[in-house]
């Protein structure tokens, strides 16, 4: 029983990473009906940005020389802001011109895939293949509750994911901008007729999605400090699948899908040979999709992608 609960704690942490990335996939899909396949790599860029920002802030001989607490407090918003700039740049440079020309969504999706490859390999070319290690930003504390051990970092990750979920949910359902986002997802054409600049709504969506991915990148790097350029491809793809299983386009779906994927993965690894973790995990997800092709919260649409 203790072993099981301990695994649940681990699953919650991984679920948080998946959820934070899946939220970005689902927001952009929900608003533009575009699968932004570069999003996993935006998460990777977020982790690297967190590395550079925190290293810079902590450098003892540097002009800052901040304490770790202060460095963490500054790294969070700076990473989110810079990562959102990456997402917005992709939209501005790659996706918007295509959509302007009336290109079919399929071409935009393929462009997104390409952008992801550019980010990965651009990173490799720029920084080389040597792996970077994020400095420690938090004094480690371990809590024992019953027979379960929880670190303060894990707690921090899970609470951050939950907080992000509620903030995004509030923005989408309660604010004017959220209302506009929902309106775009229904009918892009009619939005300007309300006097609303469509581009601003789209950019805002990318800002939300990418900044949350940036936060995910930072938290991931804090938990698993070794960074490599392909971390976005592996973790990002899984998060995308989580978003689809949850029902892409729905914020709750991204959240539930992320945690579901993590629980399945962790439990498979805990009780079955861990070499087969992904095989079993994704077979189970496939069964869920088989049963509900639109995902847990998804509603059927006439045209996807």
């Amino acid at each position: 029983m203790e072993f099981f609960l301990q695994q649940c704690v681990n699953a919650l942490q991984w679920g948080s990473f998946y959820a934070l990335i899946a939220l970005g996939y689902t927001l952009v899909y929900g608003v533009l009906r575009l699968i932004n396949f570069a999003h996993g790599d935006v998460f990777m860029v977020g982790a690297y940005l967190a590395f550079f920002i925190s290293t810079g802030l902590l450098a003892p001989e540097g002009m800052f020389g901040f304490s770790r607490e202060l460095a963490l407090i500054l790294t969070i918003p700076l990473t989110m802001i810079l990562t959102s700039l990456v997402g917005v740049t992709l939209e501005r440079v790659a996706y918007r011109p295509l959509m302007r020309k009336g290109a079919h969504r399929l071409y935009v999706v393929i462009t997104a895939l390409m952008c992801g490859l550019i980010l990965e390999n651009g990173n490799l070319a720029l920084l080389g293949a040597s792996r970077r290690t994020l400095p420690e930003l938090m004094d480690k504390a371990v809590y024992h509750i019953g027979g379960i051990t929880v670190t303060n970092l894990k707690l921090f990750v899970v609470l951050a994911a939950i907080l992000v979920f509620f903030i995004l949910h509030f923005i989408v359902t309660r604010t004017r901008m959220g209302m506009a986002m929902r309106a775009v997802s229904w009918d892009k054409f009619a939005l300007p007729l309300m006097g609303i600049p469509l581009d601003r709504v789209v950019v805002f969506t990318f800002v939300l999605g990418s900044s949350v991915a940036g936060l995910g990148g930072l938290l991931f790097a804090m938990s698993y400090p070794v960074l490599d350029p392909y971390m976005g491809a592996t973790t990002g793809w899984k998060a995308f699948i989580a978003a689809v299983v949850g029902g892409i386009g729905d914020i709750r779906g991204a959240f539930v899908g992320g945690f579901l994927l993590a629980i399945v993965e962790v439990m498979v690894a805990a009780f079955l040979p861990s070499t087969y973790r992904d095989l079993y995990a994704f077979s189970i997800l496939l069964l869920i999709l088989w049963h509900r092709p639109t995902g847990i919260f998804g509603k059927p649409l006439t045209a996807k992608i």
Binding site: G102, R176, M179, P192, L193, G195, I196, P197
Partner: protein, 239 residues
């Protein structure tokens, strides 16, 4: 107030308007009538400066509002600055939002101002919308959706309202109601350009009319006179 001169517009390489000219003065109701594919909707979308692929690209001519060209303006600024908007063909209301949210969204360009007065005005024009304010708008009937489309357009505080086939799919009684409401809005000072397949009804309420045929204006004049021209009677009014 609005002057369209020698306007040419195309979807891709296919020219849909071959140089049309017309004008609309403040306080008028002007109708564009014509058969399917004549270029009526295209004209309205070009006026609104909407973008491809759903709207055409203007390839020649000019559209001016009070003497200044509006060709370089994006659609949302036509709404917020020129105070002109369109209730599009097929209504295009936001079905995943409530009736109230649809109305609130349309007051976007007047951020911070209270919208209570305008909402009250819309509810007074269309009491059915008040009853259904909290309902998701895709649960409304066709007539109610058209009311919402017009109400939503009014929430932008427009001084010029373009309507694309407001009678489409409406039961006759509801259709007459809609046109009575448009007449009332016009009496309150709203300038209206209405595109209609139901040419008889449109000419009855309009001050002036233009007849479009395959991207060209083939007839124009006071609505009353157009109603009685034999060739128009034969072609558009069912004899």
């Amino acid at each position: 107030m609005i002057r369209v001169s020698n306007l040419k517009a195309a979807y891709g390489k296919i020219e849909a308007l071959h140089g049309i000219s017309f004008h609309v003065e403040k306080g008028e109701i002007v109708t564009l009538i014509g058969a399917n594919g004549a270029g009526k909707s295209t004209t309205l979308k070009a006026l609104m400066r909407l973008v491809p692929p759903e709207a055409p690209t203007v390839t020649g001519g000019d559209i001016t509002f009070d003497g200044a060209s509006i060709l370089g303006m994006p659609a949302h600024r036509i709404v917020s600055d020129i105070r002109m908007t369109l209730a599009p063909e097929g209504r295009r209301i936001f079905g995943n939002l409530t009736v109230m949210e649809n109305l609130q969204l349309a007051s976007w360009s007047r951020k911070g101002e209270s919208t209570d007065k305008e909402i009250q005005h819309v509810f007074e024009l269309f009491p059915r919308l008040a009853e259904r304010a909290r309902q998701r708008s895709d649960t409304l009937s066709g007539g109610e959706q058209q009311m919402l489309a017009v109400g939503r357009a009014l929430m932008t505080k427009c001084s010029v309202l373009l309507l694309d086939e407001p009678s489409m799919g409406l039961a006759p009684l509801i259709m007459y109601d809609m046109f009575r409401t448009l007449k009332r809005l016009n009496a309150e000072g709203l300038t209206i350009i209405v595109v209609e397949q139901n040419a008889h009804l449109a000419l009855k309420v309009a001050d002036r009319g233009y007849v479009l045929d395959t991207g060209e204006i083939v007839a124009e004049g006071p609505a009353e006179e157009l109603l009685h021209r034999p060739e128009i009677k034969a072609a558009y009014l069912g004899g």
